[in-house]
């Protein structure tokens, strides 16, 4: 039994020796994400109260006792709201990153492969969106769409499309010139085959790192939108919304209402950033360091 556990552990430690600090950064990030994903998947095992219950305890109770992180002005348990709130922020930010990566990769492949006018036009539009402040675009979209989980997801997703587009387009341009692509064309492979079988698999590897860092950023944008009062109806539990609510009690000294939701947003973003940083160093040591 001890041997059974020992082997994976030794392999683990060997990886640590091989890659150094980067391996531990990656593992730290993965561990943070794992804990919060667990929170989101099994909230009932961790939350002692219903997140909406206005009878969880006294009003604005200090952290401690039955209320790990205190209670808010509506007598709701802050810790329970944190646990349930993880579902919203994780769901929105990961889904937004999935949507923008799919759209961005598709147009990036198309633009890089087709070239010509299609490429010119797409690049112009994507570059314009890229330089424009993402948050402002997301604010405008969220304001137009109105509150809703799906709406905020789209508002966040739109602003990251150019990131994937630029990355994939650049790589497609380079890979297009490779000998094996020429060889594929010589044996009569059509454009869809070349794109899917020869170019796409080579492009996808680098987008993994970008995807992870993108989720980290999306987490902060999602919380920013809800902090500003945009994007979600009050019937949803959300860290950014709780932060905005707690802001009203800052002057009277109820520090726990802003400290814990904000700490969670930062920790989750940090988890994804560290995962991304670690992956980047291990997959391609020269990507970040140069």
């Amino acid at each position: 039994m001890a041997q059974g556990l020992g082997r994976p552990f030794r392999a683990f430690a060997a990886m640590g020796r091989k890659y150094g600090v980067e391996w531990w950064i990656l593992m730290f990030g993965a561990a943070v994400i794992a804990v919060i994903v667990f929170m989101a998947m099994f909230p009932h095992t961790l939350a002692p109260f219903d997140p909406f219950s206005q009878e969880a305890g006294p009003q604005l109770a200090n952290p401690g006792g039955p209320h790990l992180m205190g209670t808010d002005n509506l007598r709701r348990d802050v810790w329970s709201r944190i646990v349930f709130g993880s579902r919203t922020i994780l769901g929105v930010s990961v889904l937004a990153a999935v949507i923008s990566s799919l759209v961005g990769i598709f147009f990036g492949l198309l633009s890089g492969y087709a070239g010509g006018l299609v490429d010119r036009g797409l690049s112009l539009v994507m570059d314009a969106v890229y330089v424009f402040p993402g948050l402002i675009l997301a604010i405008a979209l969220a304001a137009m769409f109105g509150p809703g989980v799906i709406n905020i997801t789209f508002a966040v997703a739109v602003i990251y499309i150019p990131t994937y587009f630029r990355l994939v387009r650049g790589q497609t341009l380079a890979i297009k010139q490779e000998l094996y692509v020429e060889a594929a064309r010589a044996i009569g492979a059509g454009s869809p085959t070349i794109l899917m079988k020869y170019i796409f698999p080579n492009v996808i590897a680098t987008t993994v790192v970008v995807f992870t860092l993108n989720v980290a950023d999306a987490i902060m944008i999602e919380a920013a939108l809800t902090y500003l009062g945009l994007g979600l109806p009050p019937s949803v539990v959300d860290w950014g919304m709780d932060l905005a609510m707690g802001k009203k009690y800052l002057a009277s000294g109820q520090w726990w209402l802003i400290t814990f939701p904000g700490l969670m947003i930062s920790t989750l973003a940090l988890g994804f950033t560290m995962l991304g940083e670690g992956l980047a160093e291990i997959l391609n040591p020269r990507l970040l360091e140069r």
Partner: protein, 338 residues
Amino acid sequence: MKNLLRYIIARTLMTIPMVFILLTIIFVVLRLMPGDPVSAMLGGHAPEKVIEQKREELGLNKPITAQYVDYLWQVSHLDLGDSMVLQQKVTVAIREKLPATIELTTFGMIITLFLGVLLGAYAADKRRQAQDSAIRLYGIVIYCIPVYWMGLMLQLLFGIWLDWLPIAGRTGPRIFASDFEYTGFYLFDTLRVHDFEAFRDVLVHLVLPSLTLGLSLSGIFVRLTRANMLDVLKADYILAASARGISHATIVYRHALKNAFIPILTMMGLQVALLMAGAILTETTFSWPGMGRLLLERIYLRDYPTIQGVIIVFALIVAFISLLVDIIYAVVDPRIRY
């Protein structure tokens, strides 16, 4: 010199399509997305006739292409229309709020550059040592702290617990902006009328918001500076300098940093977007009466012309600064002129 002038003109012309596309994107987002501004503003129960009248007034009953042409025509004349809620031209509202945002972002940027560039250069100098790891960790962690939460925590620490600094607004309760307001840049305005008490008050109010913004963006600059410094420190001329016996500190902080600064400058153009986003969030946290507050207040009021106007101004600022950065780049580095 002639080359430089040609480059500047060519680069300026290049911003035209970019601005045009940005304006089009704004139009698409604000006019083509679901949701009718007029019924949203008047509420769902307004009589059909009133809604029709308002739509006519705003030109919203015209075909979308005509609206688009009108919109571009207006913007090209720097006319952003009238507010739908207040009897006020949008340009007047923006003129009133823009200085507050510029003051905040300028000081934020100064703090960011100072912190980020110095820490980044130091980390590169101490590569792979404990200081380097500590600074890199600082960069990552600070990047992951959302600017609005950092603002709240600084408010809690310096405003409530230590009670050192004010946490809201541009002036205290006993200072009246109407006494000195001239350009809207309060630091300048107070000095203009030699009101040093007000100047001190304005400065004190600026500390926490600009520190929040500056700290928050410094993480990115630590990383940029460090990466560029590492490249530069590998260059032959650095080796040559040390062979000549120039002191290590002079090499790193004079020779290397100067050369590393050029790419940092270009990156700054891209960071302007982050600076704007950071400003909007910081303004909300600190009740700072700038463009971000204006945008959000008008979003709650559904004042479409003002929302549109504010976003257009942000787009123009971004386009202008990226133009400016490229021109400075060309002036500083003669290798750039094509």
